[in-house]
Symmetry: C2
Subunit: 221 residues, 2 copies
Amino acid sequence: MPSTRRRPAPRQAEADRNDRELLRAAREVLAEDGAHASVAAIAARAGVGIGSLYRRYPTKDDLFRHLVDLSLDHWVAVLEAAGAEADAWTALSVFLTQGLESDSSGSLAAIAGTVEITPAMRAKDDRSEAMLTALVQRAHDAGVLRPDVSTSDMWALVEQLTPAPMIEQLRKRGLADQLPAAAAARRRVIAIVLDGLRAPGSPLPDAPPPKAVFDRRWETG
Amino acid sequence: MPSTRRRPAPRQAEADRNDRELLRAAREVLAEDGAHASVAAIAARAGVGIGSLYRRYPTKDDLFRHLVDLSLDHWVAVLEAAGAEADAWTALSVFLTQGLESDSSGSLAAIAGTVEITPAMRAKDDRSEAMLTALVQRAHDAGVLRPDVSTSDMWALVEQLTPAPMIEQLRKRGLADQLPAAAAARRRVIAIVLDGLRAPGSPLPDAPPPKAVFDRRWETG
DNA sequence: CCCATAACGGAGTGCTTTGCTCCGTATCGG
DNA sequence: CCGATACGGAGCAAAGCACTCCGTTATGGG
């Protein structure tokens, strides 16, 4: 049997760059347009033809699922970096600041319930849940985190702080010169929240949310 | 000249109720669908015919402008209630909790830049800016608010905390049984933020955002 | 310097959604 | 019972949608 070895892809470099641009653009458009984000808008913002997008992701759903998968990877990586910190408070602080600052994140809440979650993705989610719980427990043991804060409170903070409404708005309106100030404003908000997490804190209202509140949004069907 | 007095409107009560329902529905749909919110969806959610909506608001823009106007009224009212508090810290706390809890608010950021701001609306905005600045100054004088927090930091917090992504998501997916838990989670987040605002606090990063960042998003054209 | 090949861009397609108009119907005070 | 007013929603032209198809372009081993 003669070698049917394929030649190397002629335009591999361009293809790789296009893929990165597509994912970046998809996150931006999703953050701005929410559930109504269109494939055409994503391709246009990436500076890539629609045809090229569809060659890589046969379906809009495939693209979005990949995005969710990458986001799960992002949080696992952030939690690993945070867990490696020697100080319990620094670990929590790294979790929030690193996790929220990178644009590898972006608000995917808009497509919750529309993408099928694979078992591998579920496993990544379970993993990050366990890692964050360990981080919170460590901070409680060290007495640096207010005692009434639970793991799900931390996820609630992440959900609330992940969208950057001002930044999206400015980007959409083309007011790029205001972007640094808006990003700075968001960093200050996160810093305020971090201080709010420090022990002792005044008692929190209600009960911590059950994890089901977060998970059920992502169930399809 | 004979009296051309009009007869009283035969279905006035129904009309009033419909108007309230329309505004409530518009806020919900805007929060869920963002800038792509459709008139048909608003009418449907209000349980009102499209024709009735268009009789009251000749244009989609008219409806949205009214919504923005009411939101400005809402914040002025909240600031008046907060300013009436005897304790400087309680005043700030009322501002955030009352301002963010009511569903008279809702995230209108999605339509920033698409509605024409009338001089009257601009005046209301200026008024609330002055009132909040007074509140912040009072808290600084009393030494209860961390000294590096400015008025615009407070607006940034409001912008960040106004959207309720989890609540919208659950409502959209029909998971009504989870709504109380999600609302509780949000109250806890706000309580954490409030504690983060207390003096002394650790130094905040960057500089406070200029007010222009907030205003320019609303300029049309 | 070829030229086979893999990746490219975007016009086109059938279908849905949109903002808005129009008009026959329902309700109520006098 | 009747005139006035508000009602609901079918219908319309235009725009937007996910996705297909195909002629074009860039690359790198021989």
